[in-house]
C-alpha cells in the first residue's frame, strides 16, 4: 500500500493516441480525487477507482472538478495548470490524490503524493498547484 507521485504511463500513451484534450475550448473535464494512505497509486494506475478513496464531511466521491488553465509553452517546455481546488468546511484526511479525466472511462492522468497524511477538521482542505511555468507546472512535457 503506497502512493507514489507519477505521471501515469497510460496517460502518456493516451496523449499519443489523442485521447486527452487540454485545449481551452473543447477540453475534457478533469477531476481530482483524494485517497487515504491505504491506497495504492503509482505510474501503473490507469483509471479512477473508489477503492480507498477519502470519505468525510463535504467530500463527495469522485472529488472536485478542476478548472483547467489552457496549455502553454515556455522555451521548449509545454505545460498545463489547474486552479487550486478546495473542499470547504470539510473533515478529511488524505495521503494523496489522483487527477483523472471523466472521459475514456475516467482515465488516469497523474498521481500526487502528499508525503504524509493531511487533515482538515471542519475547515477548508485546499490543494495548491505549483507555479505554472516551465520548471514547476503540475504537468510538463520538456
Amino acid at each position: 500500500m503506497a502512493i507514489s507521485q507519477a505521471m501515469c504511463t497510460s496517460f502518456k500513451k493516451a496523449l499519443l493516441d489523442g485521447e486527452m484534450d487540454f485545449s481551452g475550448n473543447t477540453g475534457q473535464t478533469y477531476k481530482i480525487a483524494l485517497y487515504t494512505n491505504s491506497a495504492t497509486l503509482n505510474a501503473t494506475t490507469t483509471a479512477y477507482a473508489t477503492t480507498n478513496e477519502v470519505s468525510g464531511t463535504n467530500y463527495t466521491a469522485g472529488g472536485n472538478t478542476l478548472t483547467l488553465v489552457a496549455a502553454t509553452t515556455s522555451g521548449t517546455t509545454a505545460f498545463i495548470d489547474f486552479a487550486d481546488s478546495t473542499w470547504s468546511t470539510s473533515t478529511i484526511t488524505a495521503r494523496g490524490a489522483l487527477i483523472y479525466t471523466t472521459a475514456n472511462s475516467n482515465a488516469a492522468v497523474a498521481v500526487l503524493d502528499f508525503g504524509a497524511d493531511k487533515s482538515s477538521t471542519a475547515g477548508d482542505f485546499k490543494i495548491i498547484f505549483p507555479a505554472p511555468d516551465a520548471s514547476n507546472a503540475i504537468i510538463r512535457i520538456a
Binding site: Q5, A6, M7, K12, F79, S88, T89, A94, A97, A110, L112, D113, F114, G115, A116, K118, S119, S120, T121, A122, G123, D124, F125, K126, I127, I128, F129, P130, N136, A137, I138, I139, R140, I141, A142
Partner: protein, 117 residues
C-alpha cells in the same frame, strides 16, 4: 516535496484565502514532468536518380573484344641453283688451208687419263 500549512483560528490565512472563521489546510503539490524522447532512426540510403522523361536502368554487360590482327607474311626465301655451264672450247677448222689437218704430236705428254670404269 509537497508542503502543507494548517491555519487554525480566525483570520490566520492570507487575505482572501479561506473563509473567515474557518480553519484552512493547504497542500502544495509538486509538478510532474515528462521528458519527451526521440528515438534513433535508421536511414537506408536509397539513391533516387532524377531522370527526365524516360527512366531506364542501364546495365553494362561484359564484352569480349576480338581483335583481328593482320598477319604480316614474311617473305619466303627461295634458293635458286644455277646449273653448271660447260663451255666447249673449240673452233672451226679452216678447211681451206692446205692441208687442213695436222699430225698429232705424239711426243707430247699425254694430257689425258684413263677413265675408271
Amino acid at each position: 516535496m509537497p508542503s502543507s500549512v494548517t491555519y487554525d483560528g480566525w483570520g490566520e490565512p492570507a487575505w482572501d484565502d479561506g473563509s473567515w472563521g474557518t480553519d484552512l489546510t493547504t497542500v502544495s503539490v509538486d509538478g510532474i514532468a515528462a521528458t519527451g524522447g526521440l528515438g534513433s532512426v535508421t536511414v537506408s540510403g536509397i539513391a533516387n536518380v532524377p531522370v527526365t522523361n524516360v527512366s531506364g536502368q542501364t546495365h553494362l554487360n561484359t564484352i569480349s573484344v576480338i581483335i583481328d590482327m593482320p598477319i604480316s607474311v614474311v617473305g619466303i626465301g627461295a634458293t635458286t641453283s644455277l646449273g653448271i655451264v660447260r663451255a666447249n672450247a673449240w673452233k672451226l677448222i679452216d678447211d681451206g688451208q692446205v692441208p687442213h689437218w695436222g699430225p698429232v704430236d705424239d711426243s707430247q705428254t699425254p694430257s689425258w687419263i684413263n677413265i675408271s670404269t
